[in-house]
Amino acid sequence: MASHRRVGGIRKHQRRDRDGDLVMGTAPRVSPATRHPPRSQQSASHGSNYTELRITGWTDEKEIPRLIQFLERHSSRRSPNPSKGGVPPIMVKRSKVVGNVLTISVRPDDVIAFSKINGFSFASAHGNQKLNIAGTGIRSRSPNHTTVSAAKPQTSETIDLFKAFLERRYDANLKLLNLSSLATDEEVAKSGMFETESRQSKFFPVLMTICDRQMKNAEAKRDAIHSVTLSNNGLPNLGVVKELAITLPEIKNLDLSSNKFTSTKDLSAWKHKFRGLEHLILTDNPLETSQPGWEQDIIKWFPRLRLLNGVQVRTEAQIARLDMPKQTPPPCQNGLWLDGDKIAENFLVEFFQGFDNDRNALIQKYYDSTSTFTMNVNAKARGGVVQHNRTPWDAYLPQSRNLKFITGRRSRFFRKQRGPDQIQTAWAQIPPTRHAGLDTNKYSMDCQPQPGLPDPSGQYSGVTGLMVTVHGEYEEHRTARGANEIVQRAFDRTFMLGPGGLSGVRVVSDMLCLRAAGGHAAWIPQGPTEVPVPIAAPAATLTPEQEAMVVHVCTATNLKREVAIQCLQAGNWNLEAAAQLFTAQKDTLPPDAFN
């Protein structure tokens, strides 16, 4: 019964698990084409909601499910609808196969995403197959297409025009790209590039693309352009210029003055963008009067903003603090480890090795029919100030059991794994991992004893159980797609260990929480914070000979006793050497070194 219901639970989330390599189970899936035949037949009558696209270039109908996953995967990355919480949107709403044409129904918004993947190669079992996507709104990539060849000379002319424009508008001394008053630029007006609204909306993205091509890499961009002005463009919002944040994310100064922004909402497209922005000008915009307190939002959105309209909003010290590891509570290295017999330690050493190398053997050894395992992912955590790249949690999310959000009883039930079989299935979904050795200080571990944990038969043998918590990081080897990507993940894992099992230890509970790695600074001691060496060496440690030398030096030099000892120590308790040191340094010694 339970296993039958589990299948239902998994299948419900199967669409999220769109990485073709991670499909659960071994039997090939029923082709979506045949799975929803009634729906695809209806598509004509509902045609107004979705746009139909025709995919050709593939040969094997058995590969349609993989092909659809391929399309989903690549189009969802280019979708204008951002994914929520790491879950990509579903791109292919319907599909059907007629002859060698796969017809898919997609949201009109998403057509552009499919347009971008037109011509992509699909890795079929019969070799790479170049896919051709056709339909309303899809640009043809075929080189012998008449409109393209006709447009070619014009295109290169346009590119030259844009290049010339960028050259004219760039001030190398100021490292400033001046994009103010675009509409009144003579050359732009002559070309007609800014005449209609649709051209206006295209102008900026094209300009940005060309700007991007002019520079070799991010470093070149960072060095060449520090400031951008977009003033006096009559912008009501960032709609037509938002690409700036993608092309030039590292600029320091931005001038948006003399536009038509009426509220900070009009600027929200750049919320949390431009992470290094230091100076922002928003003068002569309606929002100054229409939204009292608008500055608060802006200051919050740009963490390194120092000047807003020329007024200081953050001190250097505040910004410096951003990049420093946090200070309180004091970091601590050693966990409390109440593990007299090293039971937990031995367990953890074996556990992490086993989890990296042979999860099934680990399960056989430590987990029994009453062991439970759950995991949850905090996909929102960014992992420190510097690391903003989020690697998706696609392989984990179908199992994530964050009770804050997962409220349905069924979901909660199906995401709790009990017994070796379920745990094995769950662990098989987790990509390969590499944990650092426990002897490094990359973990924070705690262990608290549990009196009288029962063994599997329910008997209290009097043997003590242990509650063990571990915090640390592991490398995730995302090799499933043939990629060779290694990402750091941070985890918290809580075990309840009890007596029993083959090895004398069994896992009663195993709870895992994951998020982006942010380093282990929290439990590394932060350098010597105490006063280094106490100046007054205790007299008791001096030998009588040394004591005599100290007295001699004090009388001869009038140095304070502590300084005299230091001096003698530096001279290795050789009067001659100490005297030379004193002569060399006496002019640099502070007055309070003397009596």
Partner: protein
């Protein structure tokens, strides 16, 4: 008790715990017993009095907890204990950035209600 019951208790407990922690820390005393254990970062204390003393004398006064993840499992099958793992952010007075924490509890049944048997608290990494 069924599975959903455990989860409900875990949620109620965590909500109550954080609210009380943020508003009136001393009232947390009712949640601990004399066999309770608290590990707060590198300090370990046992017993209600010592735990409350520890919680009242933390290096910060004004705190706001924001929960990011919560999970629970029944532990100690014979007894009906509940294991709770919660992670989130801790906004401490005077600090611009929140601290991230993870906290593991074991709740033990006592009559009709539960008390905190184990409580392990750790600051882990900078959250933003």
């Amino acid at each position: 008790m069924d599975e959903a019951g455990y989860e409900k208790i875990a949620r109620l407990f965590v909500d109550f715990y954080f609210k009380t922690f943020d508003e009136n820390r001393v009232a947390l005393g009712t949640l601990y017993r004399d066999d309770s254990m608290l590990t707060f970062e590198d300090k370990k204390v046992g017993g209600t009095a010592a735990i409350i003393d520890k919680l009242q004398n933390l290096p910060f006064q004004q705190v706001v907890h924001r929960m990011a993840t919560l999970d629970s499992q029944p532990a100690h099958l014979g007894e009906g204990s509940i294991l709770v793992l919660v992670t989130g952010e801790l906004q401490v007075d005077g600090q611009e950035k929140p601290l991230s924490f993870t906290q593991s509890f074991q709740l033990k049944p006592e009559g009709d209600s539960f008390y905190v048997f184990n409580d392990i608290f750790r600051i882990v990494y900078p959250a933003s």
